[in-house]
């Protein structure tokens, strides 16, 4: 059993100033997940008549991208390639102090406690993260040949679950890795070619309009990404954007 001290960000409303509150988390089983630990703490808070700590969660199996905790200053904790829900208490030691904060970015306003509004990412997708084709019955899988490296690269980019950890980890709250993954995902495939220029321009412009910061090539995003998406996609987006922008402005 672990006895921990939690330093948790509490904020009643989006307008509220917010502050860190301290909680004792006693007798936490080592086999509990991080979110289960919070559930236990919340039950005790409810029993004592308090307001539980609000946090986002859904699948709890590391694939949906809903959980969004910054644990000891690192989005999804310092463990590589996992989401907050996949962090287990056996990774902590008895007597540890754990800091729990929301995913911070000016473009991610806090809704309550550890829950932030990440719809800015949805608006980036809506700006161009799709292809305009007639849907219907799926075409034969081999009717359109795609080189294996391209298929792999597209798949690696498509692994993005849109959790926003890249933005929360970035010193500048830049959304470059998220946007680049979405641009790259379609840009590597033949179906994405007709709208390749239009897509990158629209998505980057929406990204800028949302008030995200600018990339300074420190790669904190890649290190925090639960799907370990490579910053190669950012280089590729820089290239795509430059070409598309020059074509649009000068050709």
């Amino acid at each position: 059993m672990l006895n921990l001290t939690l330093k948790v960000w509490r904020q009643k409303t989006p307008q509220d100033q917010g502050s860190i509150e301290t909680y004792d988390a006693k007798n936490i089983p080592e086999e509990a997940s991080f979110l289960e630990m919070l559930d236990i703490v919340n039950e005790r808070i409810i029993e004592s008549g308090g307001e539980p700590i609000h946090f986002d969660h859904d699948c709890r199996e590391g694939i949906c991208g809903a959980c969004s905790l910054t644990i000891n200053g690192v989005p999804h904790s310092k463990e590589k390639g996992i989401t907050s829900c996949q962090v287990h208490m056996r990774k902590f030691r008895d007597g540890d102090t754990i800091w729990i904060e929301p995913f911070r970015a000016r473009a991610f306003p806090v809704i309550r406690d550890l829950i932030v509004d990440r719809s800015a990412m949805d608006r980036i997708i809506a700006a161009g993260g799709y292809i305009d084709v007639r849907t219907g019955s799926a075409v034969d899988a081999n009717s359109l040949p795609i080189p294996k490296p391209d298929a792999d690269a597209a798949f690696d980019a498509a692994a993005c679950i849109g959790c926003g950890a890249c933005i929360a980890a970035c010193k500048n709250s830049s959304a470059m890795l998220f946007t680049a993954a979405k641009v790259s995902h379609l840009g590597h495939l033949p179906q994405g070619q007709p709208e390749r220029d239009k897509r990158v321009l629209a998505m980057v412009r929406q990204m800028d309009a949302e008030g995200f910061g600018n990339c300074t090539n420190q790669y904190e995003c890649e290190a925090a990404c639960p799907k370990e998406i490579s910053v190669d996609h950012i280089a590729r987006m820089n290239r795509d954007y430059t070409v598309a922008s020059l074509k649009e402005q000068l050709v």
């Binding site: 960000w9 904060e101 709250s173 990204m207 800028d208 600018n214 280089a235 820089n238 290239r239 922008s245």
Partner: protein, 226 residues
Amino acid sequence: MNASTCSLCTIWNSSIGKKLLVALTGLVLVLFLAGHLAGNLLIFVGEEAFNEYAEMLHTMLHGAGVWIARAVLLTCLVIHVVATISLTRLNRAASPKYVHEQTIQASKSSRIMIWSGLTILAFVIFHLLHFTVRVDSGLAEIAKTNPHKMVIVGFSNGLVVLFYAIAMTLLCSHLSHGVASIFQTLGLRSKKSAPLIEKLSKGYALVIWLGFLSIPLAIYFFKFGR
């Protein structure tokens, strides 16, 4: 506003566009450093070689060469500084601080770019007043007949050498992150080339640091030429 100005506005006003300008102007300044260092190191070859080189710089293209170079470098410097200050301000506005701050892998150099950059800017202004404009009339007199001696006399001052050493150390730090960043921003970095780019960036920074420092240190501490 005509079409071409508008195009530039669009590029300037986008995050990637502004970074692209930072990378391109940075590249020009990085390449200039190599040329500047190569010329400076002629001081170790001898008085005659160094003075001939100084003469060549001022007579190149009937004296226009040096002014073309100055205009290009000044333009790049201004764009680089204005764009990075603007980007830094936007970045600060976009990123609220964590109560418990943590860094996963970002290098110290990458985190002090604006401060190393501004110190280098202050140094560049001092350096130009010192050796190019020559506000010191004694030094200006020497420079007219013997640029080699001007460097020796210039670096005989301990405070000048100290500021020079601090600026070169911060320049080394700035380059170690900056050179690699040029590749990423221009879209020329990939997983395969990343280790090579990292080594190139750090190696280049080290060569520039050692090269530029060798001159004042040799003059001040080892009495070279004095």
